[in-house]
Symmetry: C2
Subunit: 387 residues, 2 copies
Amino acid sequence: MQSIPSEPTELDASRVIVTLTDRTELKTVPSLAELARGRFSQAMTDHMILVSYDPVHGWSAPEIKPYGPLSLMPASASFSYGTNAFEGMKAYMGPDGIPRLFRPEKNMARFVRSAARVALPAFSPIELLKLIRRLVTIETRWVPAAKGHSLYIRPMIIGTQSSLNLSVSDSALLWVMCTPSGPYFRNTRPLSLFAATDAVRAWPGGTGEHKIAINYGPTLTHHQNAQAEGHDMNLWLLGDKITEAGIMNFFVVLRRDDGDLDVLTPLLDGTILPGITRESVLALAAAHPSRIVLPGLSEETRLHPAERVLTMPELETWLAEGRVVEAFAVGTAVVVSPIGRIAWGGKDLVLPQFGDALGPVSKALRERILDIQEGEFEWEDWSVLCA
Amino acid sequence: MQSIPSEPTELDASRVIVTLTDRTELKTVPSLAELARGRFSQAMTDHMILVSYDPVHGWSAPEIKPYGPLSLMPASASFSYGTNAFEGMKAYMGPDGIPRLFRPEKNMARFVRSAARVALPAFSPIELLKLIRRLVTIETRWVPAAKGHSLYIRPMIIGTQSSLNLSVSDSALLWVMCTPSGPYFRNTRPLSLFAATDAVRAWPGGTGEHKIAINYGPTLTHHQNAQAEGHDMNLWLLGDKITEAGIMNFFVVLRRDDGDLDVLTPLLDGTILPGITRESVLALAAAHPSRIVLPGLSEETRLHPAERVLTMPELETWLAEGRVVEAFAVGTAVVVSPIGRIAWGGKDLVLPQFGDALGPVSKALRERILDIQEGEFEWEDWSVLCA
């Protein structure tokens, strides 16, 4: 008698099988000085999460196991057809010696959405977060205890169906790996951006709002061009519209006639990654000064955050009018970075600069975000302990 | 005394190391009936080409070895950042029992261009073609000897630098795998296309003209939507402009007032893959009837191939005027397939249909192309022997 086929199994953190690296084979954790040199380390920690999906069994029992190579068939869907999605998040060491994640449920929700965009199987974001917290707990010694330092965490899912036919991958592999990281940029020297008019990162009806491999590979040659011209990275435009800065979200701060400040970022129109730092900046700006006072900012200064279309001609006009207080870029890796100038259509737009430092608003935001991330300041449920 | 560092080694087919599968472990080649059922087989042949690149040594000695899994680090650039490029080409069995490739130098040139688009290392297309011919020679028993059948060949290159930092991958893995294939569609029933106005495959300044993973994964959900609506696949538009049909190039044939026929396909504006079947159709149409007479077409009928912007409103007008002779799609996998109808903005554009057969021009082109591919008809240097 045949057994009745059951529903594919859901991802279930309680089934995790933990295989720890032998104590004698644990890697040496890089020092803070080494992290500062390495910028964004290529050294992964000792362990990874690995879990697979197939259409018959569903999600396998998750494994936490020594970091090591994957065995994949050459015909796996991911290679030919780019059925990959990922996330970028960080664990920070708190003053209590307990690592914490920053708004991780936001990353998990975006990860599920990104996977669906390339037709990969669904999974429970709650169960995955449980596994990640467990992994971070195991890797606690890798979480650097220094301001601006963190353990970078990369969840990843790829289609593994072995077929050269372009079709939805019925199988997948999901893993999570970690690498310790110092501050992304060694200093806060203002960035020089190159706004190429012939290079497009994303477009309406495309994939710009998802964290999928597809949005990154084609930008590398443009990035090389920007650097060859002496810039740090690209400012991505869609026609005249500003979309993203490098792999970060763009912000500009304008002084109103009444002395208040507008804190503006491009509208999420499908071409822009809904960044978690972006969302946090908007929320903190809205909370100042009624619910939170941002460090170094006057309680008299009201901030008016807004998501709207921002164009290069507008920015040029605002600069000419002397209304621009500062421009900056935000993202998980960098947190907040100042923008000093933008080359665009033969012009060189020079933004307000503050030496090798951030402007008043971005500095206040960066400090408060770091404080929340590093457990120095409690704010809503943004900081989630791994213990 | 230290040796002077030398230039990275170029790809060199003469260095190939061939390791054949043990005779007792060779796979069973599927029968034609099995190929007909499997459409586009998931079974790879016995052997593959594998060669790696690193910045110190350059290209390794190429291997031809048993097909099997690849070992890749989880942090390889390809997974996170979609630094992948590929090709699709076919070997056909000639009447002399010798397999031949169809214009393979076109695939090789496109492969090099696609790899460069995602900043992967360059390689000699001539050396890679030598390796592929050697592989096909070894796999001769896998090349089906039947009209419309072939050995599908998939060259692939991925970035393998192990780093979570978004940067140019300084390392790569290149491989070539093969799978026998019957006709892509089981019959020539005309295709029903869904021209979604909110789904965009490619954009000016994007990657549409390259054969990279990026152009495929995001189309899967749109393809599911099209099939859920009862269509075979998408017709990709950019605004009103027709770009591609599924993963094929689009053609429409119009009758002129003088009785001649226009054979039109969208202009290569950067959003369209420069298909090799597309290019061959244009060349054969231009050669008829002065240099070649296409089977079944009158010598009185002149064909005027042209690459130009084609829009949906134009197509609608031409249909209303009774000028459309037929529309069809072309590509390596399908060769030529008829298009029967297009759903667009609530309208159902019905194109001329010929039962379950091709129209006069596409039928003539398909037959001549198959004859050239299968060694039944000599035409320029389009057919390249593997011996």
